[in-house]
């Protein structure tokens, strides 16, 4: 890392990470390279594809469009925080596998966090709204239908 950074504490998945970053460093790069949480992926760094989606204070956020320094004093959740302590899969993770909602798996962390954020805010979200909300992110393998079905199945479990 370059020398002209500043110390920063990020709270990620309820754990504190003390890092030293330049102001220009994105939250995505900081999570991946400074916190070692490489489950958050970068698909475009242009804020469009959503592969880098994480939750910041419960809201889905493109971590490639946010600077790490902006995330101080927030609660950040990444894909690594979804599963239980013994790596027991989260219901969304279970549903993605059961519905074959992932192929190459590159966009999957972003979709999981997007879905988690959607269901946080709207646990009863209607089908039409869900489809539009999930159109925030891009997937090139699945054709989306299985992703929609997976999220719908988790919505209907609760």
């Amino acid at each position: 890392m370059t020398s002209d950074g500043r110390p920063l504490t990020l709270t990620v998945n309820k754990q504190q990470h003390h890092v030293h970053v330049e102001p220009r460093r994105t939250l995505a790069d900081t999570l991946r390279d400074d916190c070692g949480l490489t489950g958050t992926h970068l698909g475009c760094e242009q804020g469009v594809c959503g592969a880098c989606t994480v939750l910041v204070d419960g809201d889905p956020v493109r971590s490639c469009l946010m600077f790490a320094v902006q995330a101080e004093d927030t609660e950040i959740e990444t894909v690594e925080g979804l599963a239980g302590d013994d790596l027991e899969l989260h219901p969304l993770q279970e549903a993605f596998s059961a519905h074959h909602a992932l192929q190459c798996g590159f966009c999957t962390p972003g979709f999981l966090m997007l879905a988690a954020g959607i269901l946080n805010h709207q646990p009863d979200i209607a089908d039409d709204e869900l489809r539009i909300a999930l159109s925030s992110n891009l997937c090139r393998c699945t054709g989306y239908q299985t992703i929609i079905e997976a999220v719908r199945s988790v919505r209907d479990q609760t």
């Binding site: 220009r24 242009q46 790596l87 596998s97 962390p109 054709g143 989306y144 239908q145």
Partner: protein
């Protein structure tokens, strides 16, 4: 087990965020490479001034084309011709540039942010020059008597058709990490995919390294679709820098680079004529087409025009055929293959012809299709054409039955009446069909080494690769089926060149056919080897022993047997076997698409109300995975038919450099794809009967949607160009 939609073995690490994509791999002493690229489409390089960059804080090194002058041009992996040799790409341009995005220099720095900063300090002086497309070569093929057929025709149609430039655009950009291992002295390559053995050998050859010293270690791969894994300039540059610096060098492409540097595809213009008799039987097709190859001919050589020409007659008899393909060099990003390469284009052209003939003769287009289909009694059918240097002999198929299945599924007659009623009430709705033949299972070989562990679990080492399509699960299912075990106890190794001496890789829908068949053969070899070892252990004759349910047992004595795991534990060198599957021919799956669309008269936007894909894969190893391939493939085909297009301005500047410009379908536009998977025609060419499933979802999207859209807007024959963007549809509406 084969035939069951079991959950994938691949999923768990990917769901947990524990994937090992190339950007996730890092070493403490790694440095980062950035490519300086041309911003001019055509010009002479006057100067590449790196003096400021070389003195920048944090720089490790800066190199230009002059420094790499000894590195040869990147060679063809497939279908090379002498006429194309002069169009191969250098790893860094030296005297001239030919497209925006062409690599000019490389910067290596301690940190990727710094590398990007320093790259901006490289000052490039290029004198733009005028350019015209240059014809690199002409490929001619065909059979029969074209002139006689046209002379005798009751009906002749002639069409000018265009297919736009689009490509695979996987969600993971490209990347490579090259690491000289200080202990083993091997050059380790992380980020190789698709054809790891080929790429390691090619890099060794280009950099004068011992071929044994370059090792490909495939990790997770974020989508392939034809473009990823080919040998690109950046791969050679990263390996070169790592050898020079003797440190790990990492390059991760950004999305803007990807749009101008990774292979584009499609981009063809066809002038096609067809001759038919009064019954709608198409007696001849005469197709001349121009492929915009872009600035260089990369690893695929003439693969795409060759496949276009060879696959255009599709499922139809077509007694006479002539194809003339022009490969044009231009100042766009070089082009290569993309899922259903040549076939997305060819099926669009062929099905436009079928619709035109039906219209000209005032016949029902489904009837015209039926009349022209190759009957199942004619199988195997010699197409009298070659693809990828291999004669096309359609191995098996009942095209009529598949068409009927599609027609029944959509209740064609009722649907047609319903759409007519809706059109009469003012809605712009329409139906389109597209039939096609695919190709899969490219040989000539694939090897498998199978080892039974002491606990009875099995490791299968293959020479193929994974681009995210579920290779591990499919191979494990095949292995588990024939060894009567749980597929979850099978570990499948792929893309590791230090584990198996040769391998062709993952492309051309070949993995399940080739590696799947080799796996089947290896299970037979394992059983035989287990009997041999058990005979020694039990002091019995081999003839008295039989394989039964995961064990070797004594015939007639159901209580006396020994499990494969126990045999492995007891045998001095364990229990393992190798097998190769070789073939000189490809297998030919086939299918049909049906699309119902609605067009917005104000915006020209096309909404897909219904999309059906019927596909015969001979035998389905895992229907869930195949349906996933078809649904995902169809989403890509829909993108190419309606939305995606790499456009350029007159000076060769790309107008697409972000996902704001390149419109891939999202969950909002992508239809639910109904999949009719059939197994009517197992391939006689491999022991499993399987055919590849990767490309049928994409193949006929342009064809089916074109007919649907022109029916919706009430202008039969109006669609001559893909993609059918809202602007193009609006202009068709306004011209009616």
């Amino acid at each position: 087990m084969i035939g069951q939609s079991v959950q994938r073995l691949e999923d768990k690490p990917l769901l947990l965020g524990q994937g090992a994509f190339v950007a996730d791999v890092s070493f403490p002493d790694e440095v980062h490479l950035r490519v300086v690229r041309s911003e001019v489409a055509q010009g002479l390089i006057l100067d590449v001034d790196v003096s400021a960059a070389r003195e920048a804080h944090g720089v490790v090194g800066v190199w230009t084309g002059e420094d790499l002058a000894a590195v040869p041009l990147i060679d063809f992996r497939q279908i090379g011709y002498d006429e194309l040799l002069m169009h191969r790409q250098p790893v860094l341009a030296r005297r001239s540039v030919r497209y925006v995005g062409e690599p000019l220099a490389i910067v290596v720095a301690a940190d990727p942010y710094l590398a990007e900063d320093i790259a901006e300090l490289v000052s490039v002086d290029i004198e733009p020059t005028e350019s015209e497309p240059v014809e690199a070569m002409v490929l001619e093929s065909g059979y029969g008597s074209i002139d006689e057929a046209f002379a005798a025709a009751d009906c002749v149609v002639e069409l000018n058709l265009e297919i736009g430039r689009h490509s695979g655009v996987p969600m993971e950009t490209r990347g490579l990490l090259a690491r000289p291992n200080p202990e083993s002295k091997l050059l380790e390559l992380y980020g190789v995919s698709k054809v790891p053995h080929y790429n390691c050998a090619a890099i060794a050859s280009m950099l004068n390294l011992d071929p044994e010293s370059v090792v490909g270690l495939e990790g997770h791969v974020g989508g392939g679709f034809g473009i990823r894994g080919e040998l690109y300039p950046e791969d050679v540059l990263v390996a070169w820098a790592a050898c020079l610096l003797q440190r790990p060098v990492k390059w991760i492409e950004d999305r803007r680079e990807h749009f101008v540097a990774a292979n584009h595809s499609r981009d063809q213009r066809h002038r096609v004529r067809a001759a038919a008799d009064g019954s709608g039987m198409i007696m001849a097709i005469d197709d001349e087409f121009w492929c915009d190859q872009g600035a260089y001919v990369r690893t695929h050589g003439a693969t795409v025009p060759s496949l276009t020409a060879a696959m255009l007659p599709g499922p139809y008899v077509i007694p006479s055929y002539r194809s003339c393909a022009h490969i044009l060099m231009t100042n766009k990003t070089p082009a290569g293959t993309y899922r259903a390469p040549g076939r997305f284009e060819a099926t669009f052209v062929c099905e436009r012809v079928v619709e035109a003939v039906a219209r000209e003769l005032d016949l029902d287009p489904v009837t015209v299709r039926r009349r022209n289909l190759i009957p199942s009694s004619a199988m195997p059918f010699d197409r009298k054409l070659s693809a990828l240097g291999i004669p096309i002999v359609l191995d098996s198929g009942d095209y009529e039955q598949l068409l009927q299945r599609l027609v029944d599924h959509i209740s064609l007659d009722d649907l047609t009446i319903d759409l007519e009623r809706r059109r009469a009430s003012g809605e712009l709705v329409g139906l389109g069909l597209g039939l096609f033949v695919e190709k899969s299972g490219l040989g000539p070989y694939e090897d498998v080494r199978m080892t039974v562990q002491h606990d009875g679990s099995v490791e299968v080492v293959t020479g193929v690769a994974s681009v995210g399509q579920g290779v591990e699960t499919a191979i494990a299912q095949i292995c588990a089926s024939y060894l009567d075990m749980d597929y979850r106890d099978v570990t499948v190794v792929h893309g590791q060149t230090d584990r198996i001496s040769r391998g062709m890789g993952a492309f051309a829908s070949r993995v399940t056919v080739m590696a799947g068949s080799a796996t089947y053969l290896a299970t037979a070899a394992i059983k035989e080897e287990a009997r041999r070892l058990a005979a020694e252990m039990l002091e019995a004759n081999m003839e008295d022993l039989e394989y039964r349910n995961g064990s070797i047992g004594v015939r007639g004595n159901p209580d006396k047997d020994i499990s494969l795991g126990d045999i492995s534990a007891a045998a001095e060198s364990g229990l393992s076997a190798e097998a190769s599957f070789t073939t000189e021919h490809m297998t030919y799956p086939y299918g049909g698409h049906a699309a119902v669309v609605k067009v917005d008269p104000e915006t020209g936007e096309v909404t897909i109300e219904r999309y059906v894909v019927a596909y015969d894969v001979g035998r389905a190893v895992n229907p869930m995975l195949i349906e996933g391939q078809i649904q995902g493939g169809a989403a890509q085909g829909v993108g190419g038919a309606l939305l995606e297009e790499f456009q350029y301005d007159e000076s060769g500047q790309p107008l697409v450099t972000s996902f704001m410009d390149y419109l891939m379908p999202t969950a909002a536009e992508t239809p639910l794809v109904e999949v009719l998977l059939s197994e009517d025609a197992p391939s006689p060419l491999n022991p499993l009967g399987v055919k590849g499933a990767g490309e049928g979802g994409t193949n006929a999207c342009g064809a089916a949607l074109a007919t649907a859209v022109e029916q919706a807007i009430g202008r039969p024959g109006a669609v001559t160009e893909l993609p059918m963007t809202p602007a193009r549809v609006r202009s068709m509406l306004n011209n009616s």
